[in-house]
Every structure is written in C-alpha cells, then in structure tokens.
C-alpha cells in the first residue's frame, strides 16, 4: 500500500486483539518498519549502510520481528527513514513496551 508523501505514518493502531504477546508485537513493529523503509525507497542494504552497519542482516532481523531497534540508533534510524525521531520512538514504544506507552501517553491516538 503506497502512502501519500505527507500522510501521517503514525496513525496505525494495534489490532483490537486482547494483549498480543511480545513476539507478535515485535512482528507488527517489524512490518511497520518495513513499510516505512519502503516509503523512503531504501533497501535493507541502503539503510544498513546509512546506519553504519557492516551487514544489512540486522535490519532484516528487526524487520522480521526477532529483535528491536536498539535505543542508541533509534534516532538515526528515524532520520534515515525521513521520520521525526520522537514520534518514531513513541510509535515503536507502543509495540515494544505497550504498558509503558499506555502509562506515558494513555489511550490517546498513537
């Protein structure tokens, strides 16, 4: 699904499903990241190179939902995808730490 350039990419919500587990949430985060990378017209190799990674295999690891975006490169990851780092981190927190996200931001629009 292609998005308009200025369409809000942070409007996606978690599926209305009772407490998905950490693994499922990481998969959802990975799908979201993959879509954002596609929007930025970058390959996994491009993104890895821009993040200073020797191999792009870690990008795949994250996008396949097996690992998280490490906090120390979250800002750079967001910038390379053309996204605002704070909004990017907040959106990922919804998947990685849903309870913390709920406590910080409540049940407002993600």
């Amino acid at each position: 699904m292609k998005r308009g350039k200025h369409q809000d990419v942070f409007t996606e919500r978690l599926p209305a499903k009772a407490a998905p587990d950490a693994k499922q949430l990481r998969k959802l985060a990975g799908d979201w990241l993959k879509q954002r990378r596609a929007d930025a017209e970058l390959s996994q190799a491009d993104l890895a190179a821009r993040l200073g990674l020797k191999y792009y295999t870690f990008i795949s690891q994250v996008e396949n939902g097996f690992s998280r975006v490490p906090t120390e490169i979250m800002g750079a990851w967001a910038s390379e995808l053309g996204l605002e780092p704070a909004a990017f981190a907040r959106h990922l927190l919804m998947y990685y730490e849903p309870e913390l996200h709920r406590l910080l931001f409540g049940a407002e629009r993600k």
């Binding site: 295999t57 870690f58 795949s60 097996f66 690992s67």
Partner: protein, 145 residues
C-alpha cells in the same frame, strides 16, 4: 552453441539440512534449556537462523545469516560476533556466545534474596528489643553478682 556460465548463487533460498544440522548440533544445550529457533530471510533472499530466548519475550539472542559464501554471526542487538566461510567455525562461536545464565538459577537467587529480606525485616525488631533488654538487665545482674 556456446553457453554463458553464470556464477551460481550458492545455496540460496533456504538452509540445507547439513547447515541446519551443524547449527542445531552446536546449540543443542541452549535449545535443551527452553530456547526455540526459527528461520527467515532478508529481502535479498539470504537465509537467517534465529536463536530465540526463553518465554515470554522470545527475543533473538543470536542470528546466523548466510550472505553469499559467508556466514555471519550477530547477537540480538546487531553486534557482529564472527564471520567466516566455514559454518563449523561459526557454529562454534555461536555455541560460545549463547548467554549461559540459567533462569532457574536467577529465580532461585531472587527467591532467596526475597526470603532473606523478609526474615531480616521481621527479625530485626526482635533483635533490637532483645538488645535493649540486655542493656537494661546487665547492670542489674552485675550488681547482684
């Protein structure tokens, strides 16, 4: 008729049984401790093997990827641990890199600390009370002696 020889992309698409067998044999102890594994691929079709941590999080602890003719070993944070063309060597490094903390041991230590802390909280007032009594009565007992 001449045939142009294209370089064959080595073992692309999926892990061979031998490759998987090598990795699983190296990680057998880790897998026996409640870990699971899955496979996947990069967008370029390079295969990946993920060793997942214990429940409930099941985050990736180690990842072995085959890119071209090389095998790449990374941890779950993307740190490159080892790379080589020889999978046996990579599997050996993977075996050594498995986090060895026993969760049973961690839980046992946590439980022991909790019990000790509770006992300490309950016993401390008695000890203080006993000490005060002792301080009060010792001079009197000494006087009688």
């Amino acid at each position: 008729m001449s045939v142009v020889a294209f370089e064959r992309k080595l073992n692309s698409g999926e892990w061979s049984e031998r490759e998987l067998g090598t990795i699983l044999a190296a990680l057998d102890k880790a897998l026996a401790r409640g870990r699971e594994w899955e496979t996947g691929a990069t967008e370029a079709g390079d295969v990946q093997f993920y060793l997942l941590g214990p429940l409930p999080d099941q985050a990736c602890e180690l990842c072995v990827s085959r890119v071209g003719r090389s095998y790449i070993l990374e941890d779950g944070t993307g740190r490159l641990l080892f790379e080589h063309r020889n999978l046996d060597l990579v599997a050996l490094h993977a075996k050594a890199a498995v986090p060895s903390t026993s969760w049973v041991m961690v839980r046992a230590i946590t439980l022991w600390c909790a019990i000790r802390s509770t006992l300490h909280e309950k016993a401390e007032p008695w000890l203080v009370e006993g000490e005060e009594l002792f301080v009060q009565f010792v001079p009197q007992l000494a006087a009688f002696a």
